[in-house]
């Protein structure tokens, strides 16, 4: 005997009863399909909502907070920066090229639907070890998909990160962040426009096909088990050319003031866009599915309603404006179809062939989904053994070369070389910078963005792992000279129906909350990606933070690498014996236990102040975040970047391997000209940030007294070539 339909569609018995109660009758198949996608974890946030509500979302710079397609931040002079991050992990695990490509397409449409022009993409990615053939296939496919789509729509890909862990072999994580610019007073939000009864709902863009049906419920809200390839038809297929036309047409429609509302079609397709649009307007809608342009004429109502065919948008248009809207879309070669009319009341009445096939309250789909406080239980500590207590008598130079060859640390040039980073002509600093810098067109302002997440820390302590992700993202923005303003996020976790996963999630939310409060960077939105597990084994809890900051003058941008010889090198922040979850412990000691580094958020905040003030006074020749791989890796990267070596001595009494590879938080390697040394020390003292002069730049060698003496070229070799070599490319 097969399960009842609602169970097959991913709804529980309780949820089914609730639908019956809402409708006062049993739902038909079409209605059930609509509820199953809207009440899916992916669309309803039913397991995460009560936790997300505890995040700080207010701040003087926040123009639009959570609940819209994307957050928006005031960047002065009437300009707004819009940004949002999402995951497309499940589709990418099944079909890496299309999964990643359509992830780009989806996040770009979120930005467009705010009325903003997409100006930058970032891609935080996580894979299993590249020593396995399938992981290489996933890695190469995802990178090609991001490039294949992003390069073709004219939005530069300016940053992101790539990390590797065993748990991602079965569950790669593909997160995509998009940033857009708009005039603050022209932002399109659910509240900024006032649709009328009688206004028309116009579907424009691509035709609707049978691809991606049930993507949010079948793929994104369940774990991937054996035979997951069978769900490949639930992966959408992307057409970046259509997306480019959609971007231009949408921005022209907004510029000309032709719309009363705008919504992208993503997860849950027409059902989601229609129910959210009607619910926001506080109205109902009469919907005619016969008007939807179809790729296959015999599609059933539930297929039309839940298809996730890409490159479609929904606009609310006053009847007087319809002809103008049509002419703009036609100029860009796009279909338009009036598929519905807004009506008094609150009901979506959906017809096919003249018959009513569904009749449901819009709000019950969009807003009144179930909310769960799922049980949480702290799991046993992962592995309390502190790697800092392990003896180490190996060669420190060899250890550094090994850490530099770790793909998590090594240069990601192989990846970003495949991305168009220069289109639109505003990329002041791209993926090889701690924070990417995008010029606000026609101004001297630079928006600085960075993304960070560290599953290895999250595994050891999800609270600290999340707080570190916020702090490191803020630091990466601040070393570039910008003040961090706000975050978006993508929260990558296992199955929320397991109490340990739910505990990890709640702890991570607490970490984000405390860090964002301490650093004054509110949360403007984000995305939760659950069910990243298979065979009962979940990924490490990995909240990825997308931080956005502002440089008042992009010409004050601080580079990461030592730009010249003869500069004084300073280490800001203090080094403690903290190897837990470190790259060194993993790569050299083969020990993954312990605790992540401690994090004092008041020191982090003070460090950010020092960096922002020093940058505004133009006294920093360079500044580079010191985190993954510790001081040794930070110094090596500073040297490799522009080819200037250094000679330093270690400022502590710690054993050399700990001083070099500890990943203590809130540290930065900076260089300054002799004339600016006094001022930098003064600024650090004023903010009570520990600071030590550790050496000078210059020469072809990287010399750390009593520890390491190698040429910069020797350091650059594993760092530059580790990833291509793992992929079998001769270099």
């Amino acid at each position: 005997m097969t399960d009842p339909l609602h169970l097959q569609l991913g709804l529980t018995d309780d949820e089914f009863d609730r639908i019956v109660e809402t409708l006062g009758r049993e739902p038909n198949r079409t209605e059930l399909a609509m509820y199953s996608v809207m009440w899916s974890e992916h669309c309803s946030y039913k397991s995460s909502k009560i936790h997300l509500r505890t995040l700080p979302t207010e701040g003087s710079a926040v123009l639009v907070g959570p609940g819209q397609d994307a957050g928006a931040i005031d960047i002065g002079d009437g300009d707004a920066a819009v940004f949002k991050m999402e995951s497309h992990s499940h589709p990418s695990a099944i079909e890496p090229y299309q999964g990643a490509a359509t992830g780009v397409g989806g996040i770009v449409r979120d930005i467009i639907s705010m009325g903003a022009r997409p100006i930058a993409l970032l891609d935080p990615l996580m894979f299993g070890p590249l020593t396995e053939a399938r992981n290489r296939w996933l890695f190469e496919g995802v990178v090609a998909g991001i490039g294949g789509y992003g390069n073709c729509i004219g939005v530069p890909t300016v940053g992101g990160e790539v990390r590797f862990a065993d748990a991602h072999s079965a569950n790669p994580c593909v997160n995509v962040m998009c940033v857009g610019f708009a005039n603050a007073d022209e932002l399109v939000t659910g509240n900024s426009l006032t649709p009328h009864v009688g206004s028309l709902i116009v579907l424009y863009g691509a035709a609707t096909g049978r691809d991606g049906i049930g993507g949010v419920s079948v793929l994104a809200s369940a774990t991937l088990e054996d035979g997951a390839e069978a769900s490949r038809p639930s992966v959408q297929i992307g057409d970046p050319f259509a997306e480019k036309l959609l971007i231009e047409a949408s921005l022209e429609l907004i510029d000309r003031g032709l719309l009363e509302g705008l919504q992208d079609l993503g997860g849950a397709g027409i059902t989601c866009a229609l129910s959210e649009s009607a619910a926001r307007a506080g109205m109902g809608a009469d919907v005619d599915l016969d008007a939807v342009p179809l790729r296959e004429a015999d599609m059933e109502p539930f297929e039309i309603l839940t298809s996730e065919s890409q490159e479609r948008m929904l606009a609310i248009v006053h009847p007087d404006r319809l002809a103008d809207v049509r002419s703009v879309c036609e100029r860009w070669g796009l279909h338009t179809a009036v598929i519905a009319t807004l009506v008094d009341g609150a009901t979506l009445t959906i017809r096919r062939g003249g018959d009513v096939v569904a009749e449901v309250p819009a709000r019950s789909l969009a807003d009144d989904g179930p909310v769960y406080d799922r049980p949480r239980a702290e799991p046993a500590a992962v592995d309390p053994a502190d790697p800092a207590l392990l003896p180490f008598d190996g060669d420190l130079g060899d250890a550094l070369l090994a850490v530099l060859a770790s793909p998590a640390i090594a240069s990601k040039r192989w990846v970003w070389r495949q991305y168009d980073r220069v289109v639109q002509g505003n990329t002041v600093a791209g993926p090889d910078s701690d924070g990417a810098v995008i010029r606000v067109p026609g101004t001297l302002k630079g928006v600085v963005v960075a993304s960070d997440g560290n599953g290895r820390y999250g595994r050891l302590d999800p609270f600290l792992g999340a707080a570190h992700a916020v702090a490191e993202a803020a630091r990466n923005v601040a070393v570039t000279g910008a003040r961090p303003l706000a975050i978006t996020n993508c929260l990558n976790f296992g199955n929320p129906e397991r109490s340990e996963v739910m505990w990890q999630f709640a702890e991570a939310i607490r970490g984000i909350r405390e860090a964002c409060e301490a650093l004054g960077t509110p949360v403007t939105g984000g995305n939760v990606s659950f069910y990243n597990e298979s065979g009962g084994s979940a990924i490490d809890p990995t909240p990825v933070i997308g931080m956005l900051g502002l440089l008042p003058d992009y010409r004050l941008r601080v580079p990461n690498a030592f730009p010249a010889a003869g500069l004084a090198i300073y280490l800001l922040g203090e080094t403690a014996p903290e190897l837990g979850g470190s790259e060194f412990a993993d790569v050299v000691l083969g020990e993954a236990g312990g605790m992540p580094p401690a994090l004092d958020l008041s020191i982090e905040r003070a460090l950010i102040e020092v960096l922002v003030e020093a940058a505004s006074e133009a006294i920093l020749a360079s500044a580079h975040d010191c985190s993954d791989g510790g001081l040794a890796v930070a110094l090596a990267e500073c040297a490799i970047g522009a080819g200037h070596g250094f000679a330093v001595s270690l400022p502590t009494d710690l054993p050399s391997h700990i001083a070099l590879f500890s990943e203590s938080a809130s540290r930065v390697v900076a260089s300054v000209t002799p004339a600016d040394e006094e001022r930098l020390v003064e600024l650090a003292a004023a903010h009570a940030v520990p600071i030590a002069r550790i050496g000078e730049t210059g020469g072809p060698r990287a010399v750390i007294e009593h520890a390491i003496d190698l040429t910069v070229a020797r350091l650059a070799d594993p760092w530059e070539h580790a990833i291509p070599r793992l992929l079998g490319e001769a270099v």
Partner: protein, 236 residues
């Protein structure tokens, strides 16, 4: 000097059209937006076919755009000796339209490549290089998946014998080697011209190399040459 009027054609899927217009304006020219369906060059003195993925690169890169209505006018404009420059997708369009020799196929790596490259200028006998000296090198970004220039043996012989090669990928000092050829192009060819030198196609993006705040500046002398050619009305 009079401000030259330079037209930039937008096809569906063009991406660097706005960037090309901004670069022209930044260098002191008047940029004029041209639309693919119109038979109207709006009185411009030179035409730029910009980068991007016109028509999604469907069929073959540049194949559909080469048959767009405005291309008949561009061909007639070129036949009169007026300057026409195709950048990246624009180069692909010029080859597909038969205005330049050869074809552009997928990079030898089979991967998209975006990086700053050095170009060795091979001839000053074009609308884009009149102000440069053969042998000098300039730095400009490339970004393409299908930039490997290939040709039949006859075409290649003619292109080389008649000095129709305008740019070759090289090291900063002008040395040619495989390490500095980003797409495996035949004979390191990055750009070529027609016999008269008024039509030039190149894969690198000079419009992304005029503003020192966001990249190299090797595009500046190229646009300056184009402006002179546009104002002169004939090619050198």
């Amino acid at each position: 000097m009079t401000r030259p009027r330079i037209g930039v054609v937008t096809f569906p899927g063009s991406l660097d059209d706005g960037d090309a217009r901004r670069a022209i304006e930044a260098m002191g020219g008047d940029a004029v937006a041209l639309w693919h369906t119109e038979h109207d060059l709006r009185g411009v003195e030179a035409v730029v076919l910009p980068g991007g993925f016109s028509y999604g690169d469907y069929l073959r890169a540049g194949a559909i755009a080469a048959r767009a209505p405005i291309m008949a006018d561009v061909a007639a404009f070129a036949a009169r000796g007026a300057p026409v420059v195709g950048i990246c997708n624009g180069f692909q369009i010029l080859c597909e339209a038969g205005l330049l020799a050869g074809a552009l196929i997928r990079n030898r790596s089979l991967r998209f490549v975006c990086e700053d490259v050095w170009l060795r200028v091979e001839t000053a006998q074009t609308c884009l290089t009149a102000g440069l000296v053969p042998g000098e090198t300039i730095q400009i970004p490339v970004k393409h998946g299908e930039g490997q220039w290939v040709a039949t043996p006859e075409q290649l012989a003619r292109v080389e014998d008649e000095a129709l090669v305008v740019f070759r990928y090289s090291a900063a000092d002008g040395i040619l080697d495989d390490a500095h050829n980003p797409n495996g192009a035949t004979n390191h060819i990055a750009g070529i011209r027609n016999d008269a030198g008024n039509v030039v196609g190149l894969m690198p993006h000079p419009e992304h190399a005029v503003d020192p705040d966001v990249g190299p500046t090797g595009g500046q002398p190229l646009l300056a040459s184009l402006f002179s050619a546009a104002v002169a009305g004939v090619t050198t």
